[in-house]
Symmetry: C2
Subunit: 150 residues, 2 copies
C-alpha cells in the first residue's frame, strides 16, 4: 500500500472517474462514458462549491478509486454539521486491497477536521458486501434510505 495519494480531483481525472462509475453492476446501466460533456459540467458545479470534496485515490499515476464528500451544516443535534459520503468506487483490480477502507478513513478524518459531528451515507440494499464493509468500519445501519427519481 505504498505511495497511495488521495487528492482533490481535477478535470483531467474525469475520464478515469467516469470509467470507475461505469464499471459497477448498478452504474453500468446509468452512466455514459462515451460522452463526458455532462460530467464536465457537473465537475464545474462541484469545483465551485466549497462544501464539496471530490477526491481520487492515485497510485503510480493511476486513478484507482474515488469518493465524494459533502459538508452539510444543520440545526438539528444542537446545530451539528454532518457529512455525506457518495459515489465510492474502487477499481476492479484493487477491490479487497484495503483501499476502500483508506478512502472511507480519509472521509472520516476530513469530516472531523472540518468540524462534523456525524458522517452518513446510503448504500443500495443490493450491495450486501458493502454493508458488511461499512459495519466493520464502525457505521451503524440505523436508517432506511428513501429515493425518488424526478
Amino acid at each position: 500500500m505504498t505511495d497511495l495519494d488521495i487528492r482533490p480531483a481535477t478535470p483531467d481525472d474525469i475520464p478515469a472517474i467516469v470509467a470507475l462509475l461505469a464499471d459497477d453492476p448498478l452504474g453500468a446501466q446509468r452512466e455514459s462514458p462515451d460522452d463526458l460533456t455532462p460530467y464536465l459540467a457537473a465537475f464545474e458545479r462541484l469545483d465551485t462549491d466549497p462544501n464539496q470534496h471530490l477526491v481520487v485515490a492515485v497510485r503510480a499515476g493511476r486513478v484507482i478509486g474515488t469518493l465524494q464528500l459533502t459538508i452539510i451544516p444543520g440545526l438539528s443535534r444542537q446545530g451539528a454539521t454532518r457529512s455525506l459520503i457518495e459515489a465510492v468506487r474502487i477499481h476492479a483490480d484493487e477491490r479487497g486491497s484495503g483501499l476502500g477502507g483508506e478512502l472511507i478513513q480519509w472521509a472520516v478524518d476530513t469530516s472531523r477536521r472540518l468540524g462534523c459531528q456525524l458522517v452518513q451515507l446510503t448504500s443500495d440494499k443490493k450491495r450486501t458486501d458493502a454493508h458488511r464493509f461499512y459495519e466493520r468500519l464502525g457505521f451503524t445501519a440505523s436508517h432506511e434510505g428513501f429515493k425518488l427519481s424526478l
Copy 2:
C-alpha cells in the same frame, strides 16, 4: 389548509424551529432548547450556503413545520444533481393534517425547479409511521442508511 406559507427561515424563527426539533421522541434526547447559541451559529452557516434551503411552514403567524433541503451536485448518474431532505418536523397539533405532505411536495417541486434528478432522505428505522408516509408519496426504500458519530 388555508393561508399556509412555506418560506425561508429567518433568525427570528430559530426558537420555534428548535422547539419543533426537541418535541420528538428521538430529538428530545439530543436538543438543548434552553440554549440557542449553537443553533444561531448553525443558522449562519446555513444562511451563507446557496445550496442550503431551510424553510418553515407558517399558518396564522405560527411556525408549524420545518424542513431542510440541500442541493448536491455530483458526477454519478451522468452528472446528476440530487437533493437531500433532512430535519422534517411537524408541530404536534398539526400531525395528520396533510402538512407533512405539503412540505415534502415543496421540497420535491423545489428540487425539480433547481435541476435535481433525484431526491433522497433517510429516516430512522424506529420511525415506521414516517416510512409508510414516504412510500405513499412515491419514495422507494431502496437503500440502507449508515451513520457514524464522531
